[in-house]
């Protein structure tokens, strides 16, 4: 695996090169009461780039991910998406969120709607798509994530892995510019993790811009252009995945990796 790495590495099998900046965070700060969860965060995600954010729990990585579509407000600094700063509450914010797909740790599928309705709700209500068109598109997406045969069921009737794949299809149905994944496999049984990661890897290969908060180092090695290591609300280290996992520069990253990779 002795592959030359640059600051933005191209993992094996990936030919695509990231394009212009799409998500730009600049000097972002956030407090939860006395806790300073984000400290002067500067991060740029380019079009087509897959950025994996890792770090110990409480490091602020989830908050960072959620701040990008303003599920968490920030205290200072700026976040722009495709050149436009995040709007405050209101219709403009709703429109922006329609362009940013989000996948949650706990799936958060709409419990009272069928799998198909979960996927079509956004396109019909937020984008004004016709029901028939939305359903056709939704079925294609459900096919792609491998749960088309479950389309008439309620979320509670599906396994965790299936629910998370539906959640990915629901986010993709809005044709987002960027997809945010907030620990998408952390609530899954071990045997279901791979079915979700496979979907994410294929998304990455197709050139989707992704910000992924995860503990899945295998995914980071396979699909990431860049690994961002956070601790104590700060970005401690950024590197290509091979470089990061084989030769981390900071002591904190070394310590973190030694704890999770020894088993």
């Amino acid at each position: 695996m002795a592959q030359p790495t640059s600051s933005v590495a191209t993992p094996p099998g990936r030919e695509d090169v990231p394009g212009e900046p799409l998500v730009v965070l600049s000097k972002v700060n956030k407090h939860f009461g006395a806790l300073h969860v984000l400290r002067d965060i500067d991060l740029t995600v380019h079009r087509g780039e897959v950025v994996v954010v890792i770090g110990p729990s409480g490091s602020g990585k989830s908050t960072l991910c959620r701040a990008i579509n303003r599920l968490e407000t920030i205290d200072s600094g700026t976040i722009t998406i495709d050149g436009a700063p995040l709007p405050a509450e209101g219709k403009a914010l709703a429109r922006l969120r329609a362009d940013v797909g989000m996948v949650f740790q706990s799936f958060n599928l709409f419990a009272h709607k069928t799998v198909l309705q979960n996927v079509t709700l956004g396109p019909i209500k937020a984008k004004g798509m016709k029901k028939a068109d939305a359903e056709a598109a939704a079925m294609r997406l459900l096919e792609r994530v491998g749960v088309a045969d479950q389309s008439g069921k309620l979320p509670a009737q599906l396994s965790g892995g299936q629910q998370q794949r539906v959640a990915i299809a629901r986010a993709l149905a809005m044709q987002p510019k960027v997809m945010l994944f907030d620990e998408p496999t952390s609530a899954l049984d071990p045997e279901m993790i791979n079915e979700v990661l496979d979907v994410m890897v294929s998304l990455a290969r197709e050139g989707m811009t992704m910000v992924v908060v995860t503990h899945e180092m295998g995914f980071a090695r396979k699909a990431a252009h860049r690994v961002v290591f956070m601790d104590g609300g700060q970005i401690v280290e950024e590197a290509g995945p091979e470089e990061f996992f084989t030769a981390p520069r900071s002591d904190r990253a070394k310590d973190f990796l030694s704890k999770i990779l020894t088993h």
């Binding site: 509450e89 709703a94 949650f104 709409f110 009272h112 709700l121 209500k125 937020a126």
Partner: protein
């Protein structure tokens, strides 16, 4: 006991007025209460403050005082509320809306927070998230407390008797005056007619609750 059967027409007139008051006030209170609840969970601080103030003011004021205010105080500020059906409806629905709001709000709070986040994350506006994702899931939790509110409303309509609305209680009082020897039976009759509204309401609530159930 014969006094009840002998005066069925008088009872029925009162009963129908009570039913009408309950239904009209109930529907108005439900609509106002839903909006108040939406305000109370809104991201806009002024709306939240407005709804909170309204709820605290109305639910902590005795209903009789609300009637008094409409009938005697409001006219002094140039707001003329003529005695009768609509004044009773306004007082009852304004009062009940505060309780509806709190019942609905408890239902909204019972829906997992992630549902609202997911709704916002796919680009739904606040109103859409509430009406398409949160409220449909809140219905099941809201039905039992809401039916309590409506049963209380049906009984609260009796306060209107003191303000020139001839509903069940007022009919009962007239019958009691006319039949002083049978006061107890007259009042038993009144109670039975209230039960004719409140018991079916309870049964209806059970049916609706089962109908809107879904697996979580």
């Amino acid at each position: 006991m014969n006094v009840i059967f002998d005066n069925i027409p008088a009872y029925l007139t009162g009963f129908l007025m009570t039913l009408k008051l309950s239904l009209v006030s109930g529907i108005l209170a439900l609509i106002c209460g839903l909006f108040l609840a939406a305000f109370r969970v809104s991201p806009l601080t002024p709306l939240r403050a407005l709804a909170t103030t309204y709820v605290e003011l109305l639910r902590n004021t005795p209903l009789t005082i609300v009637f008094f205010f409409l009938v005697f105080v409001a006219p002094q500020f140039g707001i003329l509320a003529p005695l009768g059906f609509w004044t009773a409806v306004i007082a009852l629905s304004a009062y009940t809306a505060a309780f509806v709001c709190e019942a609905v709000r408890s239902g909204i709070n019972s829906v997992q927070f992630g549902q609202a986040e997911a709704a916002r994350a796919i680009g739904l506006t606040f109103g859409q998230s509430l009406s398409l994702v949160i409220l449909p899931q809140a219905v099941r939790t809201v039905i039992p407390p809401l039916i309590n509110v409506f049963i209380a409303l049906a009984k609260n309509t009796s306060v209107a008797a003191g303000f020139a609305t001839v509903e069940l209680m007022a009919s009962g009082r007239r019958l009691a005056t006319a039949n002083p020897a049978d006061t107890v039976w007259v009042l038993v009759g009144v109670a039975l007619f209230y039960l004719a509204i409140t018991i079916p309401a309870g049964i209806l609530a059970g049916v609706v609750e089962r109908k809107v159930a879904f697996a979580r």
